[in-house]
Subunit: 241 residues, 2 copies
DNA sequence: GCCGATTTGTCCGTATGTATC
DNA sequence: CGATACATACGGACAAATCGG
């Protein structure tokens, strides 16, 4: 049951990607587009706003909507938007595997609470996973899940895909996330579990995931071998400030 | 000349930050808010969409709009949104200085074109700048500006703030940007110009900036000493896909 | 420089759908 | 089931930027 503005967004995006509307060209005017899609001004503008927010077009007042999408050159590991490890690997045609290195129940103490943003006393599940990409242990994920939402997680589930389990079995939708990226020296655990070959820094992507209710249920520190890490996004300048 | 939805956004944001609407609480209903702000449903929803996109709230269908903002703990260097080096430093109360290490005119050859996304033959200005934070040379910026838009750039301008010059003197608005973050081994130039103290990796943030017309006029590789680098953002899951 | 046509930007009022409680 | 609240969509109006005559 798709929204109208979303199907229009998808359609325009497909045409941008297939070259119908190439880089630096202008889309047909809003009037023209409302006719072809037989929708209202407002609805069309929602579709255009999506394209703009994703970095595909740039509207110019009084002139038109310019396409600024350029196809990516090389394969990247991580891109903008929230994607699971499995989704990302499949999109890039990487072989991948996950090993569970630790799994235990913990209660958030002061240290964990400050680290993760959970409240002290929250019952959590701690999981360490090692991700292999094309054979090399490239990523160490250290996650804290909120037990009251995700229930019990077994090693089997963690080895396949926790997100598949949450979405398909439990119906939990990962609605949004906050991310932080830093670069940190390797810790003992990184050296034990990852193939680092003398590398002494890791790229750390920290994610807090919220469900459809706005409750945070996952905190994950994803520690990447630096040469296999790439992150992309698009930013629109804040107005006025 | 602010937009209505933007002033509402600013006001709600201020109330979230000052604790009037604390973490995990619900905002007043849309009906209530349209009354207090005396605006239409549509306009209010645009303000809420902004809050959602910036990661401050999470609307729950049929229930309410939940606040998910938590104040940041430690100072960070770079945050989401497009900010200049100067803005970021001032916000964090860092002392900062910029030295110009190179400045020359170049024409984009095939190599530069592929690196930056400019077209071959474009006339560019190449600038290397070293950024000092609290005295240590922490960031090396290597930029290519499109000459037809930015005109001539002098070392004096580059030492103060190129963005101030572009915005205030030339009236160029930096409307949006695309970013990529990777971690790369230090190159010869990094070692020459930065205080690395044995560190052998740098965090590289690549930015393509577009003006209000949707024309790319800046490509910058910002090479950071890893322990002084932090990046934040918020992502909303794509619908349907 | 001005005017008018075109195009994007903002806002309103209303109607209907759908999820929550 | 009904009340409440968010989600989508329509149509109309006016403002503001661009461009050509």
């Amino acid at each position: 049951m798709k929204a109208r503005y979303d199907t229009i967004y998808q359609d325009l995006l497909a045409r941008i990607k297939d070259g119908t509307y190439p880089y630096q060209s202008f889309l047909p005017s809003e009037n023209a587009l409302t006719s072809t899609y037989d929708c209202s001004h407002n609805t069309l503008r929602r579709a255009l706003a999506l394209l703009r927010d994703q970095g595909y077009v740039h509207p110019v007042h009084g002139k038109g909507v310019r396409v600024i999408y350029q196809p990516v050159q090389r394969a990247s590991f991580t891109v903008g938007g929230i994607e699971s490890f499995k989704e990302t690997s499949e999109r890039n045609n990487f072989s991948y595997a996950t090993e569970v290195a630790a799994l235990s129940n913990v209660v958030a103490d002061e240290h964990i609470a400050r680290l993760t943003g959970y409240a002290q006393g929250d019952e959590l599940i701690y999981i360490e996973r090692v991700r292999r990409l094309n054979g090399t242990a490239a990523i160490l994920d250290r996650s804290y899940f909120l037990k009251s939402i995700v229930g019990d997680l077994t090693a089997e589930i963690a080895e396949r895909s926790i997100y598949d389990h949450l979405e398909q079995d439990l119906g939990i939708i990962v609605a949004m996330g906050k991310r932080t990226i830093t670069v940190e020296p390797v810790e003992k655990r990184d050296a034990e579990l990852l193939d680092l070959e003398g590398i002494d820094y890791v790229a750390v992507m920290t994610t807090q995931a919220f469900n459809a209710q706005g409750i945070m249920f996952e905190y994950t520190q994803s520690r990447h071998r630096p040469d296999m890490f790439c992150f992309r996004d698009t930013a629109v300048r804040e107005r006025y400030r």
